[in-house]
Symmetry: T
Subunit: 141 residues, 12 copies
């Protein structure tokens, strides 16, 4: 099974940014651990701060994978364009967020990108990604 993880804006800073909160591990390092945990899954990773590049990747990769895990960061709440991109493909997409979006500023309460996904997992830090992967693993069963 091949799963693609797409991270949106500012997630490249993980490990550097407020490490006392988000931890000292970069997403790349975490990816190594993730690949170990899910040995049977072929994991591909892409990060971009550019909204349109995220759309490009969703388009390009959707035919060559079994699922997409998307953390669109700040674009989650405003991007009609990413919403449309997810709607345009048939590959299942799962939304993840590090923080609990319901518990933050009002402008983060709704997820426009989440509305186009199968489901949404938010608030579990990096473990949100693991739960999303679990979903794909269990889905196969």
């Amino acid at each position: 099974m091949k799963i693609i993880i797409i991270n949106g804006p500012n997630l490249n800073l993980l490990g550097q940014r407020q490490p006392e909160i988000y931890g000292y591990e970069s997403f790349e390092d975490y990816l190594v651990r993730l690949r170990t945990m899910f040995g049977d899954i072929q994991l591909t990773y892409f990060q971009s701060n550019i909204e349109g590049e995220i759309i490009n990747k969703i388009h390009d990769w959707s035919k060559n994978c079994d699922g997409i895990i998307l953390n669109a960061g700040g674009y989650s709440h405003t991007s009609v364009a990413i919403h449309d991109a997810i709607k345009a493909i048939s590959t299942p997409v799962v939304e993840v967020h590090l923080s609990n979006i319901f518990a933050r500023e009002e402008f983060r309460h709704h997820s426009l990108t989440g509305a186009a996904c199968i489901g949404s997992i938010s608030g579990f830090g990096l473990k949100s990604y693991e739960l999303a992967l679990q979903f794909f693993v269990q889905k196969e069963d």
Copy 2:
């Protein structure tokens, strides 16, 4: 580890209500399977259609368990009282929803109960519960 699952209004109908969509399995039957999947976890289950009874259970059981999985159903979007109950205890609570709340009517987009939880998992059908349990399992590691 002891985890409590609390289901809110209408979830007692699972298996009978629109089975072509939600499946023919009742939550009680699913619980049997869930206990098999997570053999190490002691699972307790409670369902009520009464908002205040859900609050009662959150109060009563919070001291005797390691985590609560809460699907407050229709109360998720309006209940300040359940929100306050979750805030009042120190046990970690994870919110789950069968359907993707962002993809439904606008009055379901925000979760007031979710805002008081650690995190929220919605849209994966019954598998939402399994992902919530995975969170508690992994948290221990």
Copy 3:
């Protein structure tokens, strides 16, 4: 034909509360008259001030009756949970209100429970119930 009448919060006070407006007749007394008027219909009655008990009754009785007449009182305007309960059953439900909800405070203008019913009858005092029964009688013709 078997029809169930479910009354929500504060309707137990009928006859005592502002009798100069609502009349001196309790709902129980009215029920006697109603049974006389509709001799061919088996009428069952339930009243509760508890939102979840209304949901319970909708669940429990929906299989053993031909129709439900629901006056959810103050819950009509806020209860996603009762809305979901009505959606979850296949028995036809007719909403009634004693007063004209469009003519009162703005927070009573919309009916969330009414949105899940076949139709809604409001403003005719106790006669709203008779009109709802007429609907079930005529429906059979």
Copy 4:
């Protein structure tokens, strides 16, 4: 007893418009049946697509009848002028709708004309008119 039925915009199309939903019967044909059902009531009928003509009829006929049944169609949700016309007369007016206005687009949830009526009956198709007539019949008892 003399009752007037006033139908607003697009109700002249009944029987032709989406007959698989609304039936093959025109309102005129239905009126024949209605007169048979309510033999003791003298029924007068008026339909117009013009907001002001509806107001004219409400003014003109209000003194010569015992009640008005009004289905103001699309004007129900926006017409302050019809609202004022109903308020200006002392004849009781009952609002009817074929469809359940709470279950449709948000701009149909509130009824400005209904706010000026005695009560409102919506969602029962043509039977909404029969229930309105029942109200006038019972009112006399």
Copy 5:
């Protein structure tokens, strides 16, 4: 003089929940002190997390007392049903809140239950109850 205190959701946790903020005293213990302070008043106490039980008590006890002190907790901001219950009785009801509802989240700024009471006292911790009792005492003078 007989006064009834009705506490809504989560107030049963007083003394246990965040005691560094709310103090180590349970409401039951406080009640003992309150009875001492107001020796001439017969104080009855009821707490429930269930919205409808609060309504039940308002109905049942309203005839046998001189006043009700109500802290409807989280239901204060959303409950049309409790609002209606207070409106339906003639016993004076005084609303109290431990915290200052104007200083908290926006969804707590307005009190729907308070709108049906004589007056509202919020922000003085447990002393809010004493001030409400003072009102009843002084009212008698």
Copy 6:
């Protein structure tokens, strides 16, 4: 000087409708008095309950008069079309209202037709028309 008075919906009922509030004088009778008061002004009068007929008159008469006094009644608050008609002509239009629109229901607070007029006079009963005429008289000086 030639001035046209255009009255909108329900103003034909003046004198009959709630005469204890609005007086026993019809607008036609008032017009006789108005012509006496303003002997130098040629007054033309038109009333219609039909929005589009009001627009027609604004179009037709605007070239043959020195000013229009418009009481668009309930259309004042919703009619983009009358607003556009006033904007389309160069004749000065003065809006009048019998009642004080700021002191009534919220949906009457703003005047869309007034926004296209020179000015607005509301709340002085029939005297609102006299003040509007005074404006045209004084304007000439």
Copy 7:
């Protein structure tokens, strides 16, 4: 091919009203040119300032034509009734506007009538009609 053009309020003033902006050509004159441009199309024209007459024409003519071009003017933004009329017929309707409705006052940004049409063309002055006709011509190809 037979196409009907229906113009709503104030469009009868074209050529007279602000000619420096809208030009000196009346719609009738323009119609002559339009018939020359589209020699193969039988063009019928109707204008009314009365909302209900527009609905009447949509009803009456919809069966005898291949398409309707509708410029509902100020009614576009508020008329649920015209919206319903368009929905009730099966003839394709194309909405046109002389001005760009997105670039004007906020109350013109949305088109309720446009929501019931195939599509909408706004901002091209009289050329908006030609583009609408082009659509019908090309549709046939």
Copy 8:
């Protein structure tokens, strides 16, 4: 007859501020003319930029006059306090505005002070005051 004119913020600048729009006449000079026009009326004038001083004057003078003409300027749209002051006295108050408040920014569309007055006259420049005085003169007749 004694009438008081109270002008609110910025009206002291009349004659100096944008004289090409508002004219070169100060309110004091205009007052001389006004007194000539209305020889039988004793006119007293007060202007203040301070909200509370306007309230003071409304309180102080209300007993010694037959009417108040109030132009509360920018306070008209926000002052609950002046609204309450007008409500607290029994002297009739007429609101005037130089400009047409419906035709300006949205925050000027409603008048909170106007809601407490008998009526409101806006858009006629300085003539708004004359019309208000005409109202008091005619009222006496």
Copy 9:
């Protein structure tokens, strides 16, 4: 103990304004009674209709007293400036209102000044002040 009472706009009219509702007692007379009731408290009183003078007094007196009782009247709902003044001092401030602000017009439902106080007491008429004083007395115990 030294407590300062600051009354805002229109409270100087107490006793004169609608005495059948508010009573025939002026605040000054009430103050005499209040000083008798609370003999141990040194009461200072200030009333102003001017928002900024209220701020001035809050600033000036906050250092020389043990508490402030503030009834900011109509400013309560709009004054960011008084809110900031209360936040800027460390003296405890208690808000009082004669009427129940939740039961009045929607623009009075929230209290911006109350949000900066310890707590708020509204709806008890002049007794609201006594309850506020009780709070300060009991606070000392």
Copy 10:
């Protein structure tokens, strides 16, 4: 004449995405047909999923062409930046949409980019582009 077509996010998927709805033709293939239809026009094409690249192209090409046809896709409803880019150039820009934006989700009802264009054409599928080209052709006549 030289016209540039700029397509925004997800339009690169045309022909692949839901072909049963949008057809099997890619935009590139359509472009071939378009060039045949409009032989006299030099057509340049650009597509990007990146908001800023669309802005870049609007800047770069605006001086070297006679008109721009812009389908900004999901950015149409949210992009202040593209709105500003269109405002900053003098080349005429026509907005097109495949679907009727008024008939879709509420967040698509307004077009921020359309507000900066000459006009907008939506709902005609690929024919929207042809109509836009017709506009430029006719404009030259």
Copy 11:
């Protein structure tokens, strides 16, 4: 060059109020430093907690100075009257705020007074005043 600094409500407390945040320096002391920094500028200072006095000073001083620096404090967000005062004069006004208004409560996000100024500088503490002065200095160059 002569510049006037006008400070609004609560800024007189600077140096005393939360000195750990705002510093121990009063505005008067700061003014001494400011005069040293900008030796060539004649600086006049006024502070008032009274909205109307701020308007008075804007009026009085606007003719005798080259620029005004205004920190209207809490009035910035609500005062239509100060907005109008700034609009009424031709002297350039620069708005300053100590704190970043975009980062505080939502009711502080917009500045109504700022909308009437040349520009706005917020968030730099006392340095906001220096930047405003720099603007006036550089403007002269």
Copy 12:
């Protein structure tokens, strides 16, 4: 001291776009002058129309500079992602705008990016940049 200036969408057009308003100087030319004015500061400049590239630069350069001056143009009002980027770094960021955002369309009144900055300077044209630089210079003192 090293300061970075980041300009967002459309600012590359400066000098070409509406030069009668914005002047004939490009930002590059202005930068030369700016470097002369602030000889001691090492100024680096970046402009992009791509939201994500602005985020990239904020990330990349934040460690190698003493401050960032950001004019995010149209992204200021909608970009949660740039807001997050600013929050994620510890380098001080100052927001600048050429125009006064409070005085423009309502959708420009709030700055989401400004909410994450130290402060905001808007309305001074190119001088806004100089004031921002002054802030950094003075901050060092």
